[in-house]
Symmetry: D2
Subunit: 291 residues, 4 copies
């Protein structure tokens, strides 16, 4: 993949904790006084639950704390003191993403095109499917493709193989690109808040199977798509991104499916892009999506 040039390394801190006066000053001070140059900062206070959320990205060039010690120092000096939940990411550590797909190609191609063109700072070393159909697409982009058909009987077995593959390829997060299988609760738990799905309706309307048929039956004037983190509750995980397109009485289920494809791929890719850029925090089954 092409890499952005001449960029020095950066660190990203994602955190939240009970709100207190001066938290923002405290964290920015930690970066400033130790030689970090803040590049982006976005914060948000949940005034109902009194929680402070923040994302800050800074240049590490003159930062005096060694990279491998930053987490420890931050934890010792601040996180424990303020009951922070936090994670630190480094731009040098490119996240590794697996795509799960069934028979439809539109989301898959959209992501592979972004990946190949260098739009996303990610590695995609693995595509898994329950059908052989997308092998050709994977081959076009030179990405290993593993076909693991799922039946009621072999599901546990196949998921075990999938987990091995994910480990072998050192995968950090999974994107379900219209993968038409429900993952087991154990599998989901293993990749908690690290599995992104696209559902082809504006959730919570039309959960479950065949949402375009349901939308057609109900006679709605808009159809939607929703990208969300997968939880063991089907189609009920934290929503990352949604969008809609207008339809009319002239649309059939077929034209809804067609119009929906463009929506699905754009909504999913927006969500995946935000995840790659470490811009999402989840809290109480909702997402905070930073700028």
């Amino acid at each position: 993949m092409e890499q952005p040039k001449n960029m020095s390394e950066t660190a990203i801190l994602l955190m939240y904790c009970p709100d207190k006066q001066g938290l923002l000053a405290t964290v920015t001070d930690f970066i400033n006084v130790n030689g970090g140059n803040i590049l982006y900062l976005d914060q948000y206070v949940d005034r109902q639950d009194h929680i402070f959320f923040m994302r800050v990205e800074w240049d590490l060039k003159n930062f005096i704390i060694p990279q491998e010690k930053i987490e420890e120092y931050f934890s010792t000096l601040y996180a424990r003191k303020y009951d922070m939940i936090f994670r630190i990411y480094f731009s040098s550590k490119v996240p590794r993403m697996a795509i799960f797909v069934s028979k439809m190609s539109h989301c898959l191609y959209d992501m592979l095109a972004r990946y190949t063109s260098g739009e996303w700072n990610v590695e995609i070393p693995l595509i898994i499917s329950n059908h052989p159909d997308m092998k050709e697409a994977a081959d076009r982009f030179g990405i290993p493709f593993h076909c693991l058909p799922i039946t009621k009987e072999n599901k546990a077995q196949q998921e075990a193989i999938e987990l091995e593959l994910l480990e072998k390829y050192d995968i950090n997060f999974i994107v379900l690109a219209r993968y038409m299988q429900v993952l087991s609760a154990d599998f989901i738990e293993y990749y908690k808040e690290r599995i992104i799905n696209i559902h082809h309706s504006f959730l919570p309307a039309f959960m479950g199977a065949k949402p375009y048929h349901a939308a057609f039956e109900r006679g709605v004037k808009l159809i939607g798509a929703t990208s969300h983190y997968v939880t063991s509750d089907l189609d009920a995980g934290p929503i990352i991104e949604q969008d809609i397109v207008r339809i009319s009485h002239k649309d059939t289920v077929d034209t809804l499916v067609k119009k929906g494809r463009d929506l699905e791929k754009i909504v999913l890719s927006r969500a995946v892009g935000k995840h790659i850029e470490r811009k999402i925090l989840t809290y109480k089954n909702k997402t905070i999506v930073f700028n």
Copy 2:
């Protein structure tokens, strides 16, 4: 109200029937050979159920069938033969609309402003409310206001008075402008397909009470509003119009309510405008909305 000037009278035919070859030619011929000049025509064929829907508007100036005989002639010559459901409207017969309102003013003012400016070819001779709050708004526009508070005990009684008022004022259709009362099935039956409601969510998501609270809890990234004809199934009638607005994690229930207001009034007024222009047909709990 201001009236558009120099417009000669027009007729509008709204119809549907089992699809057959040549239906469109048959109907347009009926108008053409009898001297009618077609101004607008829109048709649609439901290819699943094989139903032909059509709206046609024509200038009556040189039409040789007398206005009061058009319905009879069309019925005799075509409607029975082709099993048509149809209705004919005349531009000279201005529809009369009643508004039901509770405490919120945004939809009410939006409609009164359109009415007063002559945007809509309608009369609004009556406003009914279960609260006294909107009397001042009604007074500003010089429209009779009747306050009929509803309790579990007096509901049947009050609805009877409402029906009397509607009859007295010769009302053709009713708009529920954030009227926070469920109408009885009998009342709805009486004004079947002639009661338009605005629901403050993108139906079928968040039916029933407090949809903004439910949207906030679910963490959606869009909120919506839906205008629909009222049926005895709560929030489940034929949808006329929907729209949405983007929200984010920064929104509270209060800001959702505020953003939703603009959505509600525009979506409701779009639906009411289409109804006034006789552009809506309902079929199987859906609407066909002609251009």
Copy 3:
């Protein structure tokens, strides 16, 4: 007007200055250590020009600096030191807005409805027009209406009278609600960054007169509306808000005008609402619109 209840008084600081490390901490510290409770904070750094922009709102209940001294203290202690451009507003000082209107009522009614319902924390004591048409609308809402017809010959004279009226009614800012007259450069200078206009196109497309006709001629598939601060360059001032609506080949100039009305009123009212909430800063002919 209804007032929100039980709200204690707040202060709003809008500021910008050359960016430096620690600015945010400095300003929030000033508020925190003096007993202010920060309610909302939004900041933005222009990384091209290295300018720091901020809006912060805090509760004055326990703030130890007397309200009438805050500006002086802030100026002395920080603003001069950091070359800040700043302004401080207090929730107790309700802004006073005049509406200029010509013959069209849609924007006027939309704003009067918001005003009357208490949606906006504003006073509207004055409506000025170059035509008598909107007197009735002003009367409905009990607002003084002054008709000052403008000709090439009397323009300077009439503007002088307008300025007197604006002074007499202690007006802070002006909204041109489809006011079809170009204000003189002197007049604009007098109310610099305090005159909000609505232009009926997505600027910079279709500047000047008859944008719907121009849009129709060009065959665009979207029409727009733009709200902006007025400068002496016609339709070229800082843009506050824009939106669009889809159109098709079926639209005529008349239907564009009709569809545009809903767009114009919503876009203008969004901009006016942001101005009333003190959420807009202008810099280099652009706006920063805070959350």
Copy 4:
């Protein structure tokens, strides 16, 4: 490419002519009485210029006029009589499309993905570029790629080679997928109304080079993309499709470029899809886009 199965052959008539009573009946009669089953019909009357436009698609299975004679019969019996401009297409004749591209891949990949998945009833046998960068993308999808760098000096020569290639590959229409060269008037004339471009602004705003820079400078709150037929007037041809996305003061030229990419590819592909489906008529530098 995958082909839709079990579809019998259809004919599509696109036509316009001076409006007259009974035109629609005349054309549908021609199809009906000769055994054609109308599948889709959309018509439109320009009431200002009195022009009747129509698109009708019918099943040829029982149509009694031989396919190769339909054009002649229609021309003789109707077109000359009514001064019709018309064209007849057959579903069996798959249109052949060439893509012109420079260095950016997003529009190219989006179209190749649709092509490969069978979403479009089209052949893409040729990609031409003035840069070598996209050869790899073309190779991935097995499509011949010709690199023809353009300079001021060699432009006429290179365009001659391009025209030869287009002829050799029997190309019906050309899509400029962010092709950063202006075609000569002669070239354009040769493929009149058969070259589709994507311009990265909501035209007519920001015509010409660097529209995202211009949008950033102007401080707009929306950016857009416009797909249009190419004429010898730069960025001034008939508009097929436009869309926009919201931006804010936080966006830089870089983020505009990024947000614009998704807009560009979707808007271009929507336009190309409509062209492939023979749903576009051009008239007076505008498009009629049928349903």
